[in-house]
Amino acid sequence: MEPAEIIQHSGGVIGASWLMIALPLLGAAVLLLGGRKTDKFGHLLGVAMAVASFVVAALAFIQLLGFAPGERRRGVELYDLIPGIAKVGLLVDPLSISFCLLITFVGSLIHIYSIGYMAHDPARRRFFAYLNLFVAAMLVLVLADNYLGLYVGWEGVGLASYLLIGFWQHKPTAATAAKKAFIVNRVGDFGLSIGIFTIFATFHSLSYQGVAEGMAKGGSIPATAIGLLLLLGACGKSAQLPLQSWLLDAMEGPTPVSALIHAATMVTAGVYLVVRSGPIFQATDTAQLVVTIVGVATLLAGAIIGTAKDDIKKALAGSTMSQIGYMMLAAGIGPAGYAFAIAHLITHGFFKADMFLGAGSVMHGMNDEVNMRKYGGLRKVMPITFVTFFIGYLAIIGFPLLSGYFTKDGIIETAMEHNAILGWLAVLGAGITGFYMSRLVFMTFFGKKRWEADAHPHESPAVMTWPLIILSIGAIVLGAFLILGNRFMLFLSPAVGRPEELPSFHPFSTTGLATLALVAVGVVFAWYRYGSAEVPGVAPRGSFLTAFARRDLYGDALNEALLMRPGQWLTRLAVYFDNRGVDGLVNSLAALIGGSSGRLRRIQTGYVRSYALSIFVGAAVLVGAWFVVGNL
């Protein structure tokens, strides 16, 4: 089934959906421009703006549900930027409203959580300003009805991400991590911008509508090139191979940032881009194949990295990479996978934000310790954090009837039908997920206490635990709600299309049982290694495979060898050429002029009579020359 037509809309909440963006933007502006005067109420204003944005999104969603499914793509025109070429407009359709609800709802919860988490930080107001800025930029990204607007939001979230990773910029590691994220994203953005240029050159339009019409018309369209360039952009933003290296370092930022930006929303923008550019990708098997391969490679790489990390946030970051790999895999399959990709994106947004915030709650109680080898036995002292985290854990490993079970299983089943190799690799990834997430949970909440002497873990305040509880409820019910009866696929189909034959949910398919079996093996193995056995306080050396995973699969080493070193050589060569070549030329010319004028000035003896002599000689020469020339 093809996507529905976009209907121009004005009035109602949908007509005012720009408020969703404007409110958090206003919050950011007030907090950033207001300075210290807004310190007292800054966090409350930030929360209020995020919640207000969610209310607008929810009302727009309700109004959208009032239309027949085929009429649920509403375009809202705001401003004619370049007449005939670029309009500033919003597109409220099932896809964008799903994102809006996720961003504003999870965003609001994380805002509320941050009140407690950042309570003792002197720069809390600035933190909320950046969070508001991020929410606004992310909403621009998903609400824009054209690639230019998407690009504006894309760069906006990149900026917010940079500012928030480096929020504690007095720590050199945080400052470096922020720069790294920004620079790696530059590579992706380069691909995205060239992709958008190519789209404009091909279709003479930047709107999604124009692209879809152009694709329908046919003709010679470089769909593969556009698809691969857009994929490069998606890889940068979503930390997919080969641009994955920044995400693990991005954990230097405050934990709510990791939860909101680097788990639930911003890093999924790449999946959004691929799904939104469906008309282009569906026309090119090559690009779609590359998307699925990138997805599978990343889901395995992220999972393997997750198995070896002792830093709780980095283990979760590896897991985020891996889960986004699943989404990419589904997004690369086409309309059959779109609904599962976005459904997994939404449920992942809930359970991963839940776990990140849970990790933040643990750190909050443990003097910001992140090394899981210094945790252990925390389930008794942090009961709420433990229960909510455990629900998120069950959801991500795909425990039956929780969110991840439905959405991840959907992805694996679809991948299996599409290509058996990809499908089995995805099953393997699920097994590794079972292992590394169990390892994380056992090391943190079970076993003996391995705390530092000065650690006095305690449960976090209510302002931090309530968001955890709400998110964990989402982690329980959302998957079943979205997947059973194909509810989400039917809702989403006007925006992205769907296969003619709806998939049906088989709880006891071979694939599903194999997945569950592998996950169970992973959990049992993790229990054997980290649950029942003593966890050493210092990481054992391990085999070369462990070292391989600990060093992020040598991703950084590879970047250094392939890009950084040659880059340094190039700069050194340029410096050498500048010093010896350019400077040498200029300096020797200057020395020549300086030296010769130093000698020439010796003529100025100060003796009047020698000057007079030179005048006479000159005059004589002139007169003599005149005689000679005159007599010729």
């Binding site: 003896t605 100060g606 009047v608 009579r609």
Partner: protein, 98 residues
Amino acid sequence: MTTHYLVLSALLFAIGGVGVLVRRNAIVVFMCVELMLNACNLAFVTFARQNGNLDGQIIAFFVMIVAAAEVVIGLAIIVTIFRTRRSASVDDASLLKY
């Protein structure tokens, strides 16, 4: 007829030129410069007479006026130098150099 005047003018000019080049005393050098100027004046006047117009005579007047002004300033400088250094030698006044 005018050739004699011109030869005289050239002789006077040559005497003045040699004086400027070889004498050290600033006053003498100065007088030699005046001699050269007046040699020029003689040549101007001679040409004026030969051509039957007044152009050369007018120029000669200009030269005299400039020479008079020059004498005023030049003598003042020489006298000042003499007062500070007790010497009127042009070779002693050679500080303004490289």
